[in-house]
């Protein structure tokens, strides 16, 4: 929940007097409030947390972070069906015993 994800501003509009944007997070598009970064422009990148743009980010580091999150499955975790990751055994993963010595990489490879 504390994860903040970089995204790119696709469009900006005023809704009910609030500055809102559509933001692309590596394929997932979400509504984001720009009230805390009022001068953010279309095409720019920002760090977004629970639907709010909190800080500007340059394009290069935003892209790198998004790629990394994609590889690690973190985007799915953040934007996937909210009931799914919270269900006790939605993907069976939670009951998999942690493998001795394998760590993340192997866990990843197994999926």
């Amino acid at each position: 929940m504390c994860l903040a994800v970089p995204g790119k501003v696709l469009g900006i509009e005023d809704r009910d007097g609030t500055r809102m944007a559509t933001v692309d997070f590596g394929g997932v598009v979400k509504e984001v409030c720009l009230e805390y970064l009022p001068d953010l422009q279309v095409g720019e990148y920002a760090i977004v947390h629970v639907g709010f743009a909190l800080q500007r980010l340059d394009e290069d580091s935003a892209r790198k972070t998004l790629e990394l999150f994609e590889t690690l499955g973190l985007l799915q975790e953040e934007f996937g069906d909210p009931w799914e990751p919270a269900e006790p055994d939605a993907n069976g993963r939670t009951e998999q015993p942690a493998d001795a010595g394998d760590g993340a990489a192997a866990q990843e490879a197994k999926r």
Partner: protein, 376 residues
């Protein structure tokens, strides 16, 4: 064994690790404050790649984990009311209260909904004028400004059927409480990057000076963590204790002034209980008196709740870095992510869950992953 490939830039990761090895001459204990950082560290085995002298202690920085049981019980009580639509971030649903969780309330007919943003909850309130919509407002300085904005908008748009169940926490008083504890072993802090994106770095120099402890603002990716560790260790070896920003791409020294202004308008600082730790003075926010009508505790006057912690859960010690998750008797036996006893096993940022998902239960692996690292 490919920890380092996952770092995206193996050459840089190796260089940082070499640098840390070359710098360190004696044992140091560093605390990563944020649960997101704990997750990265365990997932990639960063603690195993580091030289033996550098120990990472997991901090209390998981908002789901530190929300006190009493607040969870209040949430369960409010969510059970027939007139209420209870909205929450997904990771709060399985946090055990006394005897049940929000999932079970939903199974028993409660209208519990998961939202991505607090503004989504406000929209639910607009669409359901005949119901009471309550949003579960937990989290650190990163999450508090969005929630503050939502309350501000509720007032501005005149949405009367929206309220917030607030349990926000602040990092600097937690750092102070950790440093004051007689059993404290922490010699340096990796401060939480996204908290500083909002708050900037001005709250930290005084703490670094008073406790003579280096505080390095650190990001969340594996390379960020290594860079944070490198800078902290450098300071410790040189006998320095300053505040450094190792996450400049997302943190400006002044933070986000608009967000800080909204926090100051909507919230006021208050003492808060942290689950498993106890009350830390000035460590949280509550709605200021100007916004009291949007306070769900006030609106629903939840009282007389019988709150009971499971005795065998030692998450308080885990959250203070006094105990590693696998040292808890219940770890992996009576306590698993499917049947969690404590919030630290529920949340994706909780230390117990991170160990359960990614980590063997013993420490012999250190050697194994070292070999893995050197192969790269």
């Amino acid at each position: 064994m490919k920890y380092i490939e996952e770092f995206q830039d193996p050459a840089l990761a190796r260089k940082l690790l070499d640098d840390i090895r070359a710098t360190v001459t004696r044992p140091w204990a560093l605390m990563e404050v944020c649960g997101g950082q704990t997750h990265t560290i365990i997932r990639h085995g960063i603690d195993q790649l580091l030289p033996d002298e550098v120990e990472l202690i997991h901090g209390p920085g998981c908002p789901v984990c530190v929300t006190p049981l009493e607040v969870i019980d209040k949430a369960l009580e409010i969510a059970s009311r027939p007139e209420v639509i209870f909205c929450s971030f997904g990771d709060m649903l399985r946090v055990p209260g006394t005897g049940r969780d929000l999932f079970q309330v939903r199974g028993q007919g409660g209208d519990v909904r998961v939202v991505y943003s607090p503004l989504d909850a406000l929209r639910v309130a607009q669409e359901n004028p005949d119901r009471e919509v309550v949003f579960f407002g937990i989290g650190f300085e990163t999450t508090a400004p969005p929630n503050a904005m939502t309350v501000y908008q509720a007032r501005r748009l005149g949405i009367p059927n929206f309220s917030l169940l607030v349990s926000h926490v602040r990092v600097p008083p937690a750092i102070e409480a950790i440093m004051r504890s007689p059993s404290c072993r922490v010699q340096g802090f990796l401060a939480a990057g996204h908290v500083c994106s909002v708050m900037g770095t001005s709250e930290y120099p005084e703490l670094a000076e008073r406790f003579r402890v280096p505080i390095v603002v650190t990001g969340f990716e594996p390379l960020d963590i290594l860079e944070g560790v490198r800078r902290t260790v450098q300071q410790l070896e040189r006998g320095e204790h300053t505040v450094e920003n190792a996450y400049p791409r997302a943190v400006q020294p002044e933070g986000n002034p608009a967000a800080q202004a909204m926090l100051a308008d909507v919230f006021e600082v208050t003492d808060r209980a942290w689950r498993g730790i106890g009350v830390i003075p000035a460590s949280g926010w509550r709605l200021s008196s100007r916004y009291r009508e949007y306070d769900a505790e006030h609106r629903f006057s939840v009282t007389g709740i019988d709150t009971r912690e499971p005795a065998e859960c030692r998450s308080g010690e885990v959250l203070q870095g006094l105990l590693k998750p696998h040292e808890c008797e219940a770890f992996g036996t009576t306590c698993t992510p499917r049947t969690p006893l404590g919030a630290t096993m529920v949340s994706s940022e909780g230390a117990c869950a991170a160990y359960y998902l990614y980590r063997r239960l013993d420490l012999e692996q250190k050697t194994v992953s070292r070999e893995g690292a050197s192969v790269v």
